[in-house]
């Protein structure tokens, strides 16, 4: 699929935490309706890249554009731009003091200034989309991890985003709950949502993504169609990573190398 117009554009992105260079020059474009999966070993900088796209991390250098607005412009209205970007976290981050439906209505009312009735209608509609309409009045703590994550997706969708970012959305889930969350994400992809997904779910990447980006050591090592990057990787580093991921029981004990990039994954 060729991008019609870049919805997300990242150019020359650098990010350091102190002396630790986590991103070393990232260039990436994601077109409207495109689904891009970012894969790579932990510490490769993939989550940091995602968090730079909605400026949860302040880039040290380079530019980030979403929907034509430059987020790295110091005078940008960041809150206005973020309303167009939905974010889903590894740890769900639902608001525990609010019920499920309040988690969806409060941001609509406070941020978008929607009326009570409209917020409730949008909330109910999105809870139905993720299959949790009957949990509206429950508190997050009474839900399973998979249900919480689906509520978190519904909460982001209720704001009417043009882009959705997913930061390892299934990594904190019990294996049997992963499927429900991936099903919701696949539904969104089919509906034409622009999505950037940091994930370890290779099956999802292979089947749903339009493009797969492999990162290591703070740079993009290779990118392309899922069949190519996952099925027939060109780079040794990609092959190595995939073999360890797909068949962890067969991995050898390795010497730690000093050039590995630490910091948040």
């Amino acid at each position: 699929m060729t991008p019609s117009r870049p919805e997300i554009r990242v150019s020359g992105l650098h990010k350091s935490f102190g002396d630790n260079q986590v991103l070393r020059g990232i260039d990436l474009e994601i077109g409207q309706g495109e689904v891009v999966c970012v894969i790579g070993p932990s510490g490769s900088g993939k989550s940091t890249l995602l968090r730079c796209v909605n400026l949860l991390e302040e880039p040290t250098g380079g530019q980030v554009f979403v929907g034509g607005a430059e987020l790295t412009d110091p005078d940008v209205d960041i809150d206005a731009v973020r309303r167009r970007i939905g974010m889903v976290f590894q740890q769900f981050n639902l608001f525990p003091h609010l019920t499920v439906v309040e988690n969806l209505t409060l941001p609509q009312r406070r941020v978008l200034r929607r009326g009570k009735a409209e917020a409730a209608r949008v909330a109910a509609e999105n809870l139905r989309r993720v299959g949790l309409a009957e949990k509206a009045d429950a508190y997050p703590s009474s839900l399973s991890g998979g249900q919480q994550q689906r509520v978190a997706i519904a909460r982001a969708l209720a704001m009417g985003p043009e882009v959705m970012l997913f930061d390892e959305p299934t990594s904190a889930l019990d294996p049997e709950l992963v499927g429900d969350v991936l099903a919701v994400m696949r539904m969104l992809a089919d509906e034409g949502m622009t999505m950037m997904v940091v994930t370890h779910e290779m099956t999802f990447a292979r089947e749903v993504a339009d493009r797969v980006v492999f990162m290591d050591g703070g740079v993009i090592v290779e990118e392309g169609a899922p069949g190519q990057v996952i099925g027939a990787p060109r780079h040794e580093r990609t092959r190595h990573f995939l073999s360890r991921l797909l068949d962890p029981a067969m991995a050898d004990v390795e010497e730690e190398t000093s050039d590995q990039v630490g910091g948040p994954g």
């Binding site: 809150d79 973020r82 309303r83 981050n93 608001f95 003091h97 406070r110 941020v111 978190a152 982001a156």
Partner: protein
């Protein structure tokens, strides 16, 4: 492993086992405690004590005024002081967490000063220094305003630290989630972070209320009219009038009437908070 080692773990015939020693030690502790209570009870002059502290007719004469006036004023001073302290403490806590340096320093300075000074000195300061510095101006609410201010200034220093700790105890992901939904930092703080922080700090805040309840007795250093007297002042006045200390005892019991149930509520809340964490 070998037979000899195994037998060493079995209770030996001679001497006491550890369990028996523990039982003996506890028995001695109980005995000492009971002996101390008996010695105290026997040596005290109960007749004189009752004469001075437990005169039923004097106690009777205190009602209903001790409740309708003294206890009412104590509660009023405490609640207004708590309200001022909470508002000011909130402001200082937010300043302490601000990214603006001077705000942080100012808040730190305030906390260090007002946490380090005895409440008594602050009451005297409000009562004496403020009228001197701003002649002609009157603190809103007269004595009630002064007490609220003095108690509030003291309480704010402690509450600011409690509130700050509560805000910092809310996981970082909550602020990130709110910001990523488009909340401004201030709105996220008000709508998402502070409500969660208050759940965490409800028990220590209630403890602060109990402390203020007792500190409200310091109002007597401001000089109060008859109608403005609270429990301690009222008890002391009556004690000197009747040349008997029974009013002090009654006033003390009135304090306990409020603080004991409050302490019970705090423990209940702490237990519930423990439950919620699990």
């Amino acid at each position: 492993m070998t037979g000899t080692e195994k037998t060493e773990l079995q209770p030996k015939k001679k001497g006491l086992t550890r369990r028996q020693k523990r039982g003996l030690s506890r028995g001695v502790q109980y005995a000492v405690f009971v002996a101390a209570v008996i010695a105290f009870a026997v040596s005290a002059d109960w007749g004189r004590l009752q004469n001075q502290f437990a005169q039923a007719d004097i106690a009777e004469r205190m009602f209903p005024e001790v409740i309708t006036l003294a206890l009412k004023n104590t509660v009023l001073y405490t609640v207004t002081g708590f309200a001022v302290g909470l508002a000011l403490g909130m402001l200082i806590a937010l300043m302490r967490l601000s990214s603006v340096g001077p705000y942080r320093w100012l808040a730190g300075l305030y906390i260090e000063i007002f946490r380090g000074l005895p409440a008594l000195l602050i009451f005297i300061f409000i009562g004496v220094a403020v009228p001197l510095a701003f002649p002609g101006t009157e603190i809103v609410g007269g004595t009630y305003g002064k007490v609220a201010l003095a108690l509030g200034l003291v309480a704010a220093a402690y509450m600011a630290e409690t509130i700050r700790a509560g805000i910092q105890a809310v996981p970082k992901g909550q602020m990130e989630a709110a910001r990523s939904l488009g909340f401004s930092p201030a709105r996220a703080m008000v709508s998402i972070i502070v409500p969660q922080a208050f759940r965490i700090i409800l028990p220590p805040l209630t403890n602060e209320l109990v402390l203020l309840f007792k500190d409200s007795s310091l109002v007597l250093f401001l000089g109060v009219t008859l109608e403005e007297r609270e429990l301690s002042k009222y008890g002391r006045d009556l004690a000197s009038q009747t040349a008997n200390s029974t009013p002090i005892l009654v006033a003390g019991l009135c304090y306990l009437l409020i603080t004991v149930p409050l302490g019970f509520v705090v423990r209940r809340m702490e237990a519930k908070a423990q439950e919620a964490v699990k």
